[in-house]
């Protein structure tokens, strides 16, 4: 698809998102905020899966860890924490965990990589599930949302749904811009080279392990941002945030959207949650329907949603020529 058309399409989507809270109800505003958070989560995973060729099946560990940090690092006495320290701290914790775990898992490849990322995430899951650290299997409440106050000035209020929505939207756009930039930099080019042919990258003189570790750490940090926002939005955290279901769901969003395409990851989050909401209304066996959709997409839409506009355009052009 032409560069300009893509850009116009993205801009229109952004405008629609910005206008949304003024037309929807608070309920739907929160649903879309949730999707935007999951879009951050999906983009962070796409950096690994789609761009570096690292299929992590334990990405929820960093999401959930940061969510717990949002609660555990907040003051216990119902005074709100400062957003400007709590958010970086939660992200830092997730990034640090990703760095340390990356040191181990990145020594493996292919199916083993999938298995060890899952194994580490399961360990993290059971730490929160089986100890009293974060309220055990029941989870734990975030009693008060953090405050955005800087000195005496409060630029926005996270208790206001619209404010919270825009805070999330801005962060999602920033993450998108950050990753787009990153991928065009020398560093990003190396990641894509690793996905294409890691062995060749090594023989060209790249210490691919460290590049992959950096990518893994960045992805974990951004997943942490998503987890933090999720905790703030819903006000409670359970071990399910770190579960392999969650890791699988975000992987499906990336696959639905089309791996290796950031806008696709965002679209994948929208479609996944959209389908989930629709199917749960229809039947309690929604996972079955979802599974069917995934199979159809993988079989008949290689490249996922991201490839769809280009295909439609091609089809139109062809028909224009023929007819």
């Amino acid at each position: 698809m032409s560069e300009n058309l893509t850009r116009a399409f993205k801009l229109a989507a952004l405008l629609a998102l910005a206008a949304f809270p003024f037309y929807g109800t608070d309920f739907y505003t929160e649903v879309v905020a949730k999707i935007l958070i999951l879009a951050i989560f999906a983009m962070s995973l796409d950096l690994l899966v789609g761009f570096t060729g690292l299929v992590s099946f334990g990405h929820a560990a960093y999401f959930g860890l940061a969510a717990y940090m949002a609660v555990l690092l907040s003051p216990p006495d119902f005074t709100p924490a400062s957003l400007w320290t709590l958010m970086p701290l939660a992200m830092l914790a997730a990034g640090l965990a990703a760095f340390v775990i990356g040191l181990f898992v990145l020594r493996t490849k292919g199916i083993y990589f999938i298995m060890v990322t899952l194994a580490f995430a399961q360990m993290a899951y059971f730490i929160f599930h089986d100890t009293k650290l974060g309220g055990g299997s029941d989870g734990i409440y975030l009693d008060v949302r953090p405050t955005a106050a800087i000195g005496g000035y409060t630029p926005f209020d996270l208790y206001d749904t619209v404010h919270l929505y825009f805070f999330v939207l801005v962060l999602m756009v920033l993450v998108y811009l950050f990753l787009s930039r990153l991928l065009r930099s020398p560093f990003g080019r190396v990641l894509v080279g690793i996905r294409s042919n890691e062995h060749r990258m090594q023989s060209l003189g790249y210490a691919t392990f460290w590049y992959k570790l950096a990518a893994f750490t960045i992805a974990g940090t951004l997943a942490g941002l998503a987890g933090f926002l999720y905790a703030v939005l819903f006000g409670f955290v359970t071990p399910e945030y770190l579960s392999w279901h969650k890791s699988g769901q975000v992987l499906l969003m990336v696959i639905l959207g089309g791996m290796g395409n950031l806008a696709g990851a965002i679209a994948g989050a929208f479609v996944f949650v959209g389908l989930q909401e629709t199917f749960t209304d229809l039947t309690k066996h929604w996972q079955l329907l979802m599974g069917g959709v995934i199979v159809l997409v993988v079989l008949f839409m290689p490249g996922g949603l991201a490839a769809l506009p280009g295909r439609i355009l091609n089809r139109l052009r062809k028909e224009g020529r023929n007819g």
Binding site: S185, P186, R189, S196, G205
Partner: protein
């Protein structure tokens, strides 16, 4: 004689019970093109793999300008100045020819911290990549997706990538295999130019090409060095004739 740039002593590699290389001694000097000959399965690629760090030797030592580099990994050896090409084309098939070479050139100045700058803005890297493409005869093909280049052109790209890393030692594993005669002649000219400022190890089945460019030839059979010396000596050697050249001499022209 000049001091060797790259020197292997007692290089040995076992695959199970098979000694793919046994006590191989090899030395490369700047300005000298050293050809490594031998029938299929002689152990030539195994030897290159050990020199480039793709395969750890079972025994033996590899020195680069006197420094022991036996334990260095492939990427460390590349950084030291050893570049290689592969017998089976090993490129980034989905990228353009230029991006293949740009990545190769970028490896010399990686700038991993410049995460907010477009890689294409680093003109030193881009120029080095373009120069390598031109040198390998692919100047007009920079925007073509590597996977869609002809087989011969992919072989040229393989060489261009090594050149883009500015390697001082070139280990070339059958660079002419599958090239047309024009491309081949062009590559032989390139090798002649390159060897003036570099040390080159050339594995090649095309005897005409080898005798046209080689200053020194080592013949390997069954993992063991049979003979090593100047081309005249190899051509005259009875042993080499019997083991290799004689029986194959007529077929070699057609060897792919």
């Amino acid at each position: 004689m000049a001091e060797p740039v790259l020197e292997a002593t007692g290089l040995t590699r076992h695959f199970g019970g098979l000694a793919a290389n046994l006590d191989v001694h090899l030395s490369l000097e700047t300005g000298v093109l050293h050809a490594l000959l031998g029938p299929n399965g002689a152990g030539k690629s195994t030897c290159i793999n050990m020199l480039s760090g793709d395969l750890p030797p079972t025994r033996g030592t590899i020195r680069y300008r006197g420094r022991d580099i036996t334990r260095l990994t492939a990427h460390q050896r590349s950084r030291v100045g050893i570049g290689r090409s592969y017998q089976r084309t090993n490129i980034f098939a989905q990228f353009t020819a230029l991006e293949n070479c740009r990545l190769a050139a970028q490896s010399r100045n990686q700038r991993p911290w410049r995460i907010f700058t477009d890689a294409l803005r680093f003109t030193d890297t881009l120029e080095r990549a373009r120069a390598a493409l031109v040198e390998a005869g692919l100047g007009a093909r920079e925007n073509v997706i590597a996977g869609t280049l002809s087989h011969g052109e992919q072989r040229q790209l393989e060489i261009a990538m090594v050149l883009a890393t500015d390697a001082q030692v070139l280990l070339l594993d059958e660079p002419l295999a599958g090239m047309g005669s024009d491309e081949s002649a062009q590559m032989v000219d390139l090798l002649k130019r390159l060897k003036q400022s570099r040390a080159i190890l050339l594995v090649e089945h095309d005897m005409d090409a080898v005798f046209a460019v080689a200053d020194r030839i080592t013949v390997m059979v069954n993992g063991v060095v049979l003979e090593s010396g100047p081309p005249e000596q190899i051509r005259a050697s009875r042993e080499v004739q019997e083991a290799y050249l004689g029986e194959n001499a007529e077929e070699e022209g057609a060897h792919v």
